[in-house]
Symmetry: C2
Subunit: 292 residues, 2 copies
């Protein structure tokens, strides 16, 4: 039994009779294979990732588990279609807070056609990709029982400026830091230091170390998902906060060169997150609230 | 008394009656100010660099000392012209081995005109800038008394492929490692570990740490010079190997974002140099020599 992913925040959506991903009850995410070379490249990447002994377990955990490909009924009713079968990376979270961040100041790849380069370059210059080295492609933040999820629409996200990115990252960090609005402010430091978000930050640093060394893959136009549980404070047994790399239709052989485009963008993101966390720590949210 | 720099390996040359830099006997390098905004931006950068307390001494040593601007006779005989007065960074070296490496997979800056962007992009794609995150712009390597300097011409350098860059870096590392051809091979490990080149490698790592944090400047189209003395083994009192950043006509305000383009390219260069050194260490040059 398949259903549409409830917490998908970017990419092609199956909603409205279109071709898009579906999830099953066992926590698998079935993503339709794109019919051109993008589909075959993504399969080839997953196969290479799991077949090479070069990528350590410590790094493999930053990728969705790959179960192979499978032919299933397409979401658009067009009949049978090959799908990538992947781990549904949010299935274990009660209230998943997610940010999809496309990494790199350049989303095109050297081998691409002139038209494709021009199209990507226009988009990179029109978003924060060029200036910040990354752009937010989607997000949802759980704000508590009353407000539910904050999930800005795509058009709004595409217009994000550097300042918007700063403020959204602060919001993302602080939602986790302060948790639901009924949390006591004085639990903040411990919650920040040991809670979900610091896990994400540490994982980003680990990922960065890998990118300083690995020369097998160049991840053009890939995203990092940041995920934590908006209800983690109440549920000791919740899954840990995590980062996951996704979208590998434009991964190419690194040819013994590090992925400097990805590494630069990732380093910039890490600095932004570090700044956002520092701001929150030195100036907790409740101090900004107007006096009652 | 001014003369033309003997060891200039890239940039505008004063030779042949053109406008170019001149050096004086006290070790100062006078670089003609470009008349458009590039000139004023370079002066503004040096002034900002030395006036802000943010840049520590440990980092300032990676830049040429700046003595201000001065109006002197231009090298092309056109009369008085304003010049930047800088430290001549190679004046203390007996046989300077130098590499000029332009950092960044992108040499254009976001604010540039479409024509300028297109021109730079073409050059970045036509050289190793796009693929490696840097390109070699000039070099000279001292090969001993008999052979003198190896100094390929600009056209040759512009055509360097990734493999050429690898081999040139190995040559650069190994010349320093083994020194003059009359050095005994068994002095290699100590020479490599404590000699000139490891100094350069350590400095690059220090510079990288700075780029992971600093958000004041974006260094578009800047170069790093790697410099060591080809005669250092014979002269205990020689200056240390060093790196120097040069060419700041396209430096812009960082707007609280790290220079991810420079950082990515620098990280790639560091990996290349580390690989070149490792190859040299594991397979010393004399093992490759044909049996006598």
């Amino acid at each position: 039994m398949f259903k549409f992913p409830e917490h998908q925040i970017a990419g092609h959506l199956a909603l409205g009779g279109k071709l898009g991903p579906q999830i099953d009850e066992s926590g698998r995410f079935c993503k339709p294979l794109q019919e051109d070379e993008r589909g075959s490249r993504e399969v080839a990447f997953y196969e290479a990732l799991y077949s090479t002994s070069k990528v350590k377990k410590q790094i493999l955990r930053f990728f969705p588990v790959f179960y192979g490909t499978h032919i299933i009924e397409a979401s658009d009713g067009s009949g049978l279609h090959p799908h990538l079968v992947l781990q549904d990376v949010v299935s274990d979270y009660i209230k998943p807070c997610i940010m999809d961040i496309k990494i790199g100041s350049r989303t095109w790849y050297p081998q691409a056609s002139e038209d494709y380069v021009a199209k990507c370059l226009r988009k990179d210059r029109g978003t924060t990709s060029l200036s910040l080295g990354f752009r937010i492609s989607g997000l949802q933040i759980y704000q508590g029982k009353k407000s539910g999820y904050w999930k800005p629409d795509r058009k709004q996200i595409q217009k994000f400026t550097a300042d918007d990115v700063r403020s959204v990252l602060r919001k993302f960090v602080s939602s986790n830091q302060l948790g639901d609005s009924d949390h006591k402010p004085d639990s903040t430091p411990a919650c920040y230091m040991y809670g979900g978000f610091s896990g994400i930050y540490q994982q980003l640093l680990e990922l960065k170390s890998w990118f300083e060394e690995q020369t097998d893959f160049h991840f053009n136009s890939c995203s990092i998902l940041l995920i934590y549980d908006g209800e983690s404070e109440k549920n000791g047994g919740n899954p840990q906060s995590t980062i996951k790399l996704i979208d590998f239709a434009h991964v190419f052989d690194g040819n013994n060169v590090i992925d400097h485009n990805f590494l630069g963008g990732l380093s910039s993101l890490i600095k932004f997150i570090s700044d956002a966390s520092a701001t929150q720590l030195s100036k907790p949210k409740w101090l900004d609230a107007p006096a009652a």
